[in-house]
C-alpha cells in the first residue's frame, strides 16, 4: 500500500480578513454607541404597547422610585442645567453656589435632595455623592419644591418635554401628587416612560 503523503501546511492563518471584520464592527459600534448614563436611582418601569420613541435632548425627567422618592433631572442641552442653577440661586438668594458646585451640578445626574441640602450635596466628592442617601424632593402642599424645579426647568429650557419615569411599585398617591403638581404648573401633556410590550392586536395578525 502506498503511503499517502499529507502535505505539511503552515498553521499560520492569514489574519487580515478577520482584522478587517473586527475593525469594521468596532467602527460601527463606536459611531452608534450612546453610553448608558450612570443613574443614581434604579427604577423598573412598567411596560406598555406604546411605540413612541423618546428624543435624547430637551427632556425634563421626574423619576419616582419604588419607595416613593421623587428625583428631578434635566438634560444639559444649550447649558440649560447651568441656567437652571443660576435661576435657582436668583430666586433663593440664600443659596449661592461656588463655580465648583455649579460644575458638579452640571455633571451630576438626578437630583433628589431638598433645596436646603442642595449646596451640601453638591460640595461632596463625586464618589461620596453616589453613596449619599438622597431623601427625594419634597412635595408637601406648603413646600412643593418639585413645582419650583419644574417651573425653573421649563424657564431654563422652554422646549423641554416632561417625562415621568416611575417604578412599577411606585405608590399611586405619590404619582398622583406629581401629576397634580404638573397640572398646577399648567403642564397637561407629558410622557410616561415604559418598556416595550407586544401588542396583542398585532400578535393576532401573525
Amino acid at each position: 500500500m502506498p503511503k499517502v503523503k499529507v502535505p505539511r501546511k503552515s498553521t499560520l492563518i492569514d489574519m487580515t480578513a478577520m482584522c478587517d471584520v473586527a475593525f469594521l464592527l468596532l467602527t460601527f459600534f463606536m459611531l452608534t454607541t450612546q453610553f448608558k448614563s450612570d443613574e443614581s436611582v434604579i427604577v423598573d418601569t412598567p411596560s406598555s404597547i406604546s411605540e413612541i420613541k423618546l428624543p435624547d435632548t430637551d427632556i425634563l425627567n421626574i423619576t419616582i422610585t419604588a419607595d416613593g422618592k421623587v428625583f428631578f433631572n434635566i438634560d444639559n442641552k444649550n447649558f440649560s442645567r447651568e441656567r437652571l442653577l443660576t435661576r435657582i440661586s436668583e430666586k433663593y438668594p440664600e443659596l449661592q453656589f461656588t463655580p465648583e458646585e455649579e460644575k458638579a451640578f452640571v455633571l451630576t445626574g438626578s437630583i433628589g435632595v431638598p433645596l436646603a441640602q442642595l449646596k451640601g450635596y453638591l460640595a461632596l466628592e463625586e464618589t461620596e455623592r453616589k453613596l449619599y442617601p438622597q431623601p427625594g424632593i419634597p412635595m408637601d402642599s406648603t413646600n412643593n419644591e418639585l413645582g419650583i424645579w419644574i417651573m425653573q426647568g421649563r424657564l431654563a429650557n422652554p422646549n423641554v418635554r416632561i417625562t415621568i419615569k416611575g417604578d412599577q411599585a411606585a405608590p399611586w398617591p405619590i404619582v398622583k401628587k406629581v401629576m397634580d403638581t404638573l397640572q398646577d404648573k399648567n403642564v397637561n401633556k407629558f410622557n410616561l416612560i415604559t418598556d416595550l410590550e407586544a401588542d396583542p392586536n398585532k400578535l393576532k395578525g401573525i
Partner: protein, 177 residues
C-alpha cells in the same frame, strides 16, 4: 574598473547574506485588540431608546366646577374601573349607588378586563371609561389600565379620583364574600 566591479560584487554578497524579511505581519494581536474593543462597545451601548406613553390631562379648572356640569356624563355611558391594592381590579357600569351593572371583580389578564371592555365598548355608544385608582394602587396597575385603553382602542377615558361611595361598594363586596 576592476575595483568597481569588486565593490559591486561585495555589495551583492552583503545583500545575499541579509535575511529576506517577509512583508507579512502577524495580525493576531491586532484582531484580539479589535474584538476586545468591539465587546466593550457592545456591552456599554444602549440601542433601544426608551418607549413612552403620552398622556394628556385636562386643564385644571380655575374655579370649582358646578355639580350640574360635572354630572353631565350620562350614567349609562360611564364605565368605572376601580384599581385597588394587591393587583385587585373591580368594575361597574353607571353611578356608584344605582349601578346599571353591579360591582364585579376582574383581573388584568386578556380574559378579565379586556373582554369586558371590548364587549361594553361595542355595545355602548360613546362609552367613557373612568379610571379610579385607590390609594393602595401602584403605578404599574395604572399604567396597565391606561395601556389597556390603547390596546382596546378606547378613545374616551379619564383618570378620576376615587369617591367614598366607590370605596364603600368595594367594602360591601369584600364582606359579602
Amino acid at each position: 574598473m576592476a575595483e568597481l566591479e569588486q565593490k559591486q560584487t561585495g555589495k551583492k554578497g552583503k545583500k545575499k547574506g541579509r535575511k529576506k524579511m517577509s512583508t507579512r505581519i502577524d495580525l493576531t494581536p491586532m484582531v484580539d485588540l479589535g474584538f476586545l474593543l468591539v465587546t466593550f462597545f457592545m456591552l456599554t451601548t444602549t440601542f433601544s431608546k426608551p418607549q413612552t406613553m403620552e398622556i394628556n390631562l385636562p386643564v385644571k379648572p380655575k374655579e370649582e366646577v358646578k355639580p350640574e356640569e360635572e354630572n353631565a356624563l350620562k350614567a349609562s355611558k360611564a364605565f368605572n374601573i376601580l384599581i385597588c391594592g394587591e393587583n385587585k381590579l373591580y368594575w361597574y357600569l353607571g353611578l356608584p349607588h344605582e349601578p346599571i351593572e353591579p360591582l364585579l371583580e376582574t383581573n388584568y389578564s386578556a380574559d378579565g378586563i379586556r373582554k369586558v371592555l371590548l364587549e361594553k365598548n361595542s355595545n355602548i355608544e360613546d362609552m367613557v371609561v373612568l379610571i379610579k385608582p385607590t390609594n393602595e394602587a401602584n403605578y404599574k396597575n395604572v399604567v396597565d389600565i391606561l395601556d389597556e385603553m390603547n390596546i382596546d382602542n378606547i378613545k374616551r377615558y379619564a383618570l378620576v379620583d376615587i369617591t367614598p361611595d366607590d370605596l364603600e361598594e368595594i367594602n360591601k363586596l369584600m364582606q359579602g364574600k
